[in-house]
């Protein structure tokens, strides 16, 4: 049984068919790269997995049980986390508020439930420390942080509640070289802890170095399912562009 | 320590302020609370109060609020004025009820209360147990009736045709009294004149002009317009003249303000029932002084209104003309 099994997912927005029957699997402790050209349907597919979009047809199962009927909040509680490209941070709130957004611990006092700020701060600090991230202060609005620091907060949020699967949407796109290495190290660490990872990225070098398997989306279908150890840049690029102009595209990618 | 500082600061400041004893005395001051000074009517009344106070040699302080709709704000100002312990409060209430709590406190403090311009309702005052020293003002129902009388004098008692009434702000008692006074007397004197519409112009010149336009479209044979104040009457004048019906429609306003006087002299507005606010303000102060000094005063003083027309102004013999500002 796979950790996450996506079968026959279809989705259209009005007249535009984005996904026509995507099959896709991730095992525990497996890192799967999800690549494809712009508009291939990667983001739509992941939003269907997290529950932000509903699917027209098909199923999404976590550990064998369908989660399609569940809200985004319920899916998070089951262990499906996503780190968005725009990070989805509340910029005027502090680190703890962002990490615990939507699942704040509460203390009951005279029949009323109050947010437990102390616990939040302590756990947030512990998670930031575990990630080895450097933040100017934990009680400041995250909007005052640098891009890399904000990313640390977004990652900390995804990891705080013992996720089973973490989806990362372009986690390295806006980072400096040194920070990219940190993210790739983190992915390997997650694999060792038995967490499934889906890595969406345009940086094929990163994908080739960090993943176990690469799924290529093309025109709303899973066009290729490659084992990373047995493939190379040219093959991946060829699948992305749909077989034609393979040499030229690969050459372009190599130059880049 | 640092985290307690803001609370501590606030607490200390609050305690320091509480320790200071009650308000200081300011003997003999008259508190005057107007609606607003932002229109010629209230401006003239304020001027009358000022001149009256100077002539009588009394101290006064005058307050007004930002608009004649700021009912609660006027109540708050009224409460604040009591802090200065005036001997009398001369109040022009925005509604018949908005100042009630303040007037009660004033009464408890032994402050004489004057209803300037007759905005308070005697029945409500009695229910609340508030005794005012006197009320002074024009009778708004009578002003409306005078307007009707003048209209009938122009058109004839057997005249027929549609008439438009432009009321004040929806919910405002003054406008309602004027409009009702007009309608009632018109019905008595000239049943053939039919009020085809009675609409709120919200004291707004532009709105009154629009209403007049609309009704002229429906009733091109309109013979008369009564507006609950001059501003709206002047708006109606513009629409009537723009429709090419200048001189064919009798247009009457209320207040007798300077714009209206000018328009009457130009032969555009037919008449205005002048309220003589200057005289109201002046007499109010003079009468309060008498009451404070222990003299008996009448409980209800009605300052007469005057129908201003071109003829009256050209003749210049009417004694009340002096008070038309």
């Amino acid at each position: 049984m796979s950790l996450l099994a996506v079968t026959g997912i279809r989705k259209s927005f009005g007249p535009v068919d984005v996904l026509h029957g995507v099959d896709f699997k991730v095992d525990a402790g497996e890192v799967v790269g999800l690549v494809g050209d712009n508009g291939a349907g990667k983001s739509t597919l992941m939003k269907i997995v997290t529950g932000m979009y509903s699917a027209d047809a098909g199923d999404v199962a976590l550990e064998g049980e369908s989660i399609l009927g569940k809200t985004p909040g319920e899916r998070r509680a089951l262990g499906v986390e996503m780190i968005y490209q725009d990070l989805a941070l509340a910029r005027q709130q502090d680190v703890a508020a962002n990490i615990f957004l939507g699942r704040e611990p509460v203390r009951t006092l005279m029949g009323m439930k109050f947010v437990d700020r102390l616990t939040m701060k302590r756990q947030a600090q512990a998670m930031i420390d575990r990630l080895g991230a450097k933040l100017p202060a934990i009680n400041r609005p995250v909007g005052s942080f640098s891009g890399g620091q904000q990313q640390s907060v977004a990652i900390a949020r995804a990891l705080t509640f013992n996720p089973k699967i973490v989806i990362m949407d372009e986690p390295t796109a806006a980072l400096a070289v040194r920070e990219v290495q940190g993210v790739l190290d983190l992915i390997r660490q997650l694999r060792e802890e038995g967490i499934g990872v889906i890595l969406i990225s345009h940086r094929l070098n990163d994908v080739l170095s960090a993943t176990d398997r690469i799924v290529v989306l093309h025109h709303g279908r899973a066009a290729a399912n490659l084992t990373t150890a047995e493939t190379n840049m040219a093959e991946v690029v060829s699948a992305i562009v749909g077989g034609s102009d393979m040499v030229e595209a690969a050459a372009h990618e190599a130059r880049a | 320590m640092p985290r307690k500082t803001p609370t501590a600061m606030f607490g200390a400041a609050a305690v320091a302020m509480m320790l200071v004893a009650g308000p200081a005395q300011a003997d003999g001051e008259y508190g005057i609370l107007m609606k607003t000074l932002a229109n010629p009517f209230w401006g003239a009344m304020g001027q009358g109060v000022e001149d009256g106070a100077k002539e009588a040699g009394v101290d006064y302080f005058m307050q007004a609020v930002e608009s004649d709709q700021a009912a609660e704000s006027q109540l708050n100002v009224c409460n604040t004025m009591l802090q200065r312990n005036p001997v009398a409060m001369i109040t022009a209430a925005i509604s018949s009820t908005n100042l009630l709590p303040c007037l009660k406190s004033a009464q408890d403090a032994g402050i004489k209360i004057v209803d300037l311009d007759g905005n308070l309702d005697p029945a409500i005052l009695e229910a609340e147990g508030i005794d005012i020293t006197f009320r002074i003002g024009s009778d708004n129902v009578l002003a409306g009736a005078q307007g009707a009388e003048f209209m009938v004098s122009q058109l004839g008692a057997d005249a027929t045709g549609p008439v438009l009434v432009i009321e004040g702000l929806s919910g405002n008692i003054t406008g309602q009294m004027r409009a009702e006074g007009f309608a009632e007397r018109l019905g008595e004197l000239a049943p053939g004149l039919e009020i085809v519409a009675s609409l709120p112009g919200d004291w707004d010149r532009g709105k009154a002009a629009n209403i007049t336009n609309d009704i002229l479209t429906r009733n091109p044979d309109l013979v008369g317009i009564f507006a609950a104040n001059d501003g709206m009457a002047l708006g109606a004048v513009e629409s009537v003249f723009a429709a090419g019906k200048g001189g064919e429609v009798v247009i009457i306003g209320v207040d007798g303000n300077s714009d209206a006087v000018k328009s009457i002299q130009d032969g555009r507005l037919t008449a205005s029932v002048a309220q003589l606010p200057y005289l109201v303000g002046k007499q109010a102060v003079e009468t309060v002084k008498m009451a404070v000094e222990g003299e008996e005063v009448e409980e209800s003083i009605i300052v007469p209104t005057l129908v201003l027309t071109k003829d009256v102004m050209d003749a210049g013999t009417e004694p009340l003309l002096e008070y038309v500002k």
Binding site: P136 | P6, P101
Partner: protein, 335 residues
Amino acid sequence: MASTEPRVKLPARGLWSRVQARSIEQLHIRLESLVVLIALAMLMAILSPFFLSVSNFLNILLATSTIGVLAIAATFVLSSGGLDLSLGSVLGLSGVVGAAVAVKLGAPMPIAVLATIGAGALAGLVNGLIITRAYVPAFIVTLGMLGIARGLALIISDGRVIYGLPQAMVYLGQGRPFGIPMPVIIFIVTAIVMHVVLAYTRYGRHTLAIGDNENAARTAGINVDFHRLTLYTLSGALAGLAGLLFATRINSGDPTAGITYELTAITAAIIGGTNLFGGRGSILGTMIGALIMGVLQNGLNLLAVQSYYQQMAIGAVLILAVFIDQFQVRKESRV
């Protein structure tokens, strides 16, 4: 030692900065606004011999109570990134409904009180339903409700003040247990409860998060539409409470009550540090904002300054408050 708070040290920037940071974190207020309030009070005390007295202080609180309750509503909606322009009209409508139920139908006091607040909540619910179900912008919906509620108030009351509420109701507006006006007590209790809700409950924290980044709130599993619906309903209910205070204070339902109050309420919230575009706001801050306006008005009244100047002064304070705030935010983001 290393594990507890190694990187959480507040930047060592002197006592003022530290107190500032603490007051935001612990009390959710900006210290500047408190300083402005105290300075203003001291100035008025120097300028007017009538300012410093218990009765005048109660006066200020009494004068602030209606607008203060409305400003609480404005703070909740604004900090969620929303807007409620119908507050003043809903206040007027609620007061008229309450007065009509009490006077014309002769209902007992608890029913009339419920009707007053319920009328406000219902208007707010309608706002919320249209905003969250029909996706009409809040500005438009509440602007429409501004007209609808006012018109309805005039229709129900036939354009006239409905006078003569039952004594038990009037007590809410005019009673003075222990010498403290009832509206002041209701206002302060409401403010404390709502402060706790906004600052210390999940509901309140989610309100701020939605105003900060709606998308982030959605991905965090917050039911944003339902949350907004409850916020507009809450806003309407608070406007109803303000309408109750207004009506019982003057012993009548006045259909013209509360015209332009929404703008005053929003002004108080913003002077108190609420972000007009959402994500930041606190009820304590708003109370300080409302009191700054109250003290300013009271002081200028005591000095017999014409009302025209008062409007200018409040306008200037509003701009100044937002200027100081922007300055602070920029300073912070330079860390």
